[in-house]
């Protein structure tokens, strides 16, 4: 079994077998992070360019750690420091970097489809680290790894994703992945944060957060950004918290063994109460840890690291 794709641009085109392969590989990678010497030589001599055209602290750090644990050389290219401010196009930036013989690009960009734009111009492996509100495949995979560790599998699992559905790349990748793996997905948020025709994704859609929580096995909260309120999408952060904030009381409606997830960074007292974020059902920090393992797995699989190189270091 191997990946059938050269790149990881989105979850939408992956098969359930490929998803399982990535998760299984990530489980093996996790062990590396707990060694005294947290490094394997799998990607020694490979150059990975982290192309970040949008601010991101955690995703970039997570990728960078994953690259370093696999012994890859890394180059961090960020928009503020780049020639983009001088008017160079994305394609030209890639054409220039291409001559530095990178083996992979990890790209974060504010425009949906940015990976599709550059794909014809590079021979290197392309990993999407988030394109606008489109996809964020590594986030969905690290979420899946966390769910699988806690729940054993996906089939028939009841998953609720709540919050700013309209502007979230996390939600699209998660929906594609969870549906492929057989989970039962509900999306919830105020109507102004639910884009039209969501039901065409094969999910249930509701604006009633309390009832949506009933019997859920997994509750995934999404970050609310302050600028959404300024654009008139909901009246106030206080009102948001009152009707869509995940509190301990509300969480009692979910399954007794519910897990609470959040892609971070969390807004305490906006979409999630501190007692929940820090409470016994929360797996938010497990997600962060799994992020490194999943990103190691993806880079390892796509860059063709030798078979058993993870075992001897």
């Amino acid at each position: 079994m191997a990946m059938h794709h050269k790149d990881l641009v989105g979850i939408e085109t992956l098969s359930p077998e490929e998803i399982t392969l990535i998760l299984d590989t990530a489980e093996k990678m996790a062990e590396v992070s707990h060694r005294p010497l947290k490094k394997v030589p799998a990607l020694r001599g490979k150059l990975v360019v982290n192309l970040f055209f949008e601010n991101s602290t955690r995703t970039r750090s997570s990728f960078e750690i994953a690259e370093k644990r696999l012994s890859a050389d890394t180059l961090n290219f960020s928009a503020s420091a780049s020639s983009l401010s001088k008017g160079e196009s994305l394609v030209d930036t890639v054409l220039n970097l291409e001559r530095m013989q990178p083996d992979a690009y990890v790209m974060r960009h504010s425009s949906p489809g940015a990976c599709q734009l550059i794909r014809p111009f590079t021979k290197a492996v392309l990993v999407n680290a988030g394109d606008g509100a489109h996809e964020h495949p590594t986030q969905a995979l690290l979420d899946a790894l966390t769910i699988r560790q806690k729940k054993g599998g996906f089939r028939g699992l009841k998953v609720l994703i709540a919050g700013d559905i309209a502007h979230s790349r996390v939600v699209r990748s998660n929906v594609f992945l969870l549906k492929k793996m057989g989970a039962d997905v509900t999306l919830c948020g105020p109507a102004t944060l639910l884009p039209p025709h969501l039901d065409s994704l094969g999910v249930k859609v509701t604006t009633d957060f309390d009832r949506a929580l009933d019997g859920q096995d997994v509750v995934m909260m999404l970050r609310i950004q302050l600028e959404r309120q300024k654009k008139g999408l909901f009246p106030s952060l206080l009102e948001y918290y009152k009707y869509y904030g995940l509190t301990e009381e509300r969480l009692r409606r979910a399954d007794r063994e519910v897990i609470v997830m959040h892609p971070g960074p969390i807004n305490r007292g906006v979409e999630i109460a501190s007692e929940v974020a820090d409470g016994p059902y929360s797996v938010i920090l497990d997600q962060v840890e799994n992020g490194v393992s999943v990103r190691m797995a993806i880079l390892y699989l796509l860059l063709g690291g030798g078979d058993d190189e993870t075992s001897h270091s």
């Binding site: 196009s89 949906p112 489809g113 599709q116 734009l117 394109d131 884009p195 065409s200 994704l201």
Partner: protein
């Protein structure tokens, strides 16, 4: 005396209800005779057997880009594509740099066009100075310079009061007001149609109502002032229905649809290929069906290309940053023949009308849009049996932003006559 007999063509003259094999006598740039058989000794004969002979096609909506954007297109290259595409006349939109909001720009365009091509150019003037939507452009001056219609195309006439004044002042001068109907508030930041596909792709959508709401407003103002309004590039079922209802009430409204809006749906955007990015955006299959039905029953009077050239590098950008628009002059007629006529969804006579008689009527062009004695010898010849694959190397426009490369089409332009002179298709 320059004379020519066009023999055995299938002559379609929608206004005269004619669709039969006839001979035409062309004399001094005019149609001098339409008969079952015309034989005159010593007169040159053009064999049109197997071809459809239609009144010259007129495109109501073209961006020639000159002055100001000569890297996208020039008047000369745009007209070269128009001629090859079967058009004997085109209207060019005023969103150039400078905007065509005064007589000197209009005269510049007309002079350049006359020097470059036999294709007639009808410059469209701006409704407002600089198309900024604030104060009326000098409409009297524009009319005297040769403008027949006005539009702030590329953007809507935002303020209802300005549109009202344009209809009153311009309408009383005989100027047709053409409106690009888009509610800028509802459409803000949108890169494609708001629907299932935009939700899947995470691109901000433009709802159908962003078109239908201003269409309804424009219809109300046309009824109020009694002066005609022409709705550009109708793309939604909601707008088609609003226009159909208005026509029933005899409101002076006319409308056009583009070939891409009757051919493609928003599903094409899933590739993130910016050649599928245009404004109005590609809509749903239901909208496509409604546009086709609107063309069939005449609710949508005309087919216009909205030919909008952009350079390679402008289109080679992130989808949400790339400019809107597709070229269309060379594909419009084959797409109509293949997608509307061959499928029996719109009659050939109606398609000919939508390309010729209707635009001539909407613009009030004398001597155009009919095949009858006394009319100009402007004709478009069609070969309904010819099949071909449209390729990038066939493009005569300066820009190549077409989504139709590689498409097999049945029905082609064989050539045109302009003022009695034949120009064969390349």
């Amino acid at each position: 005396m320059k004379r020519l007999i066009l023999k055995n063509g299938r002559v379609i003259d929608p206004a005269g209800g004619v669709d039969e094999t006839l001979d035409l006598l062309l004399e001094e740039g005019r149609i001098a005779g339409v008969e079952k058989k015309i034989s005159l000794k010593g007169v040159e004969v053009f064999d049109a057997a197997g071809l459809v002979v239609a009144p010259g096609f007129i495109d109501l909506h073209v961006h020639l880009r000159e002055p100001g954007y000569e890297r996208k297109e020039t008047i000369a290259t745009g007209l070269r594509a128009a001629l090859a595409g079967g058009f004997t006349g085109v209207c060019c939109m005023p969103n150039t740099d400078p905007v065509n909001d005064c007589a000197s720009v209009t005269r510049f365009i007309l002079e350049k066009a006359r020097a470059a091509s036999p294709v007639a150019v009808y410059p469209i003037g701006a409704v407002t100075r600089g198309s900024r939507g604030e104060e009326l452009a000098p409409l009297y001056e524009l009319k005297e310079a040769g403008v027949r219609a006005i539009s702030d195309d590329g953007q809507p006439v935002r303020r209802a009061s300005i549109l009202r004044r344009a209809l009153e002042y311009g309408g009383s001068l005989g100027l047709l007001v053409i409106d690009h109907c888009e509610d800028p508030d509802l459409a803000e930041g949108g890169a494609m149609h708001e629907g299932e596909v935009s939700t899947r792709l995470g691109l901000k959508g433009i709802p159908a109502e962003a078109e239908s709401i201003p269409v309804t407003r424009d219809i109300a103002l046309a009824a109020m002032t009694g002066h005609p309004v022409h709705i550009a590039h109708v793309s939604t079922r909601l707008a088609v229905e609003a226009i159909r209802a208005a026509k029933k009430r005899r409101v002076p409204v006319t409308a056009e649809a583009t070939p891409h809006h009757f051919t493609l749906t928003h599903e094409a955007v899933a590739s993130f290929d910016t050649r599928y990015k245009m404004n109005p955006p590609l809509r749903t299959q239901k909208d496509v069906d409604a546009v086709i039905e609107g063309l069939a029953d005449g609710t949508l009077d005309a087919i216009a290309t909205d030919h909008a050239p952009h350079t390679y590098e402008e289109k080679l950008q992130e989808f949400d940053r790339a400019p809107n628009g597709v070229i269309g002059l060379q594909t419009a007629v084959p797409l109509a023949l293949d997608r509307l006529v061959r499928t029996d969804r719109v009659s050939l006579k109606r398609v000919v009308d939508a390309f010729s008689t209707a635009p001539a009527r909407i613009l009030g062009l004398e001597g155009k849009g009919r095949i009858a004695p006394g009319y100009d010898a402007d004709l478009t010849l069609l070969n309904l049996r010819k099949e071909f694959v449209f390729q990038e190397k066939d493009v005569l426009s300066l820009s190549r932003n077409s989504p139709f490369f590689g498409m097999r089409l049945k029905g082609a332009v064989a050539g045109v006559f302009i003022a009695g002179t034949f120009y064969g298709a390349p």
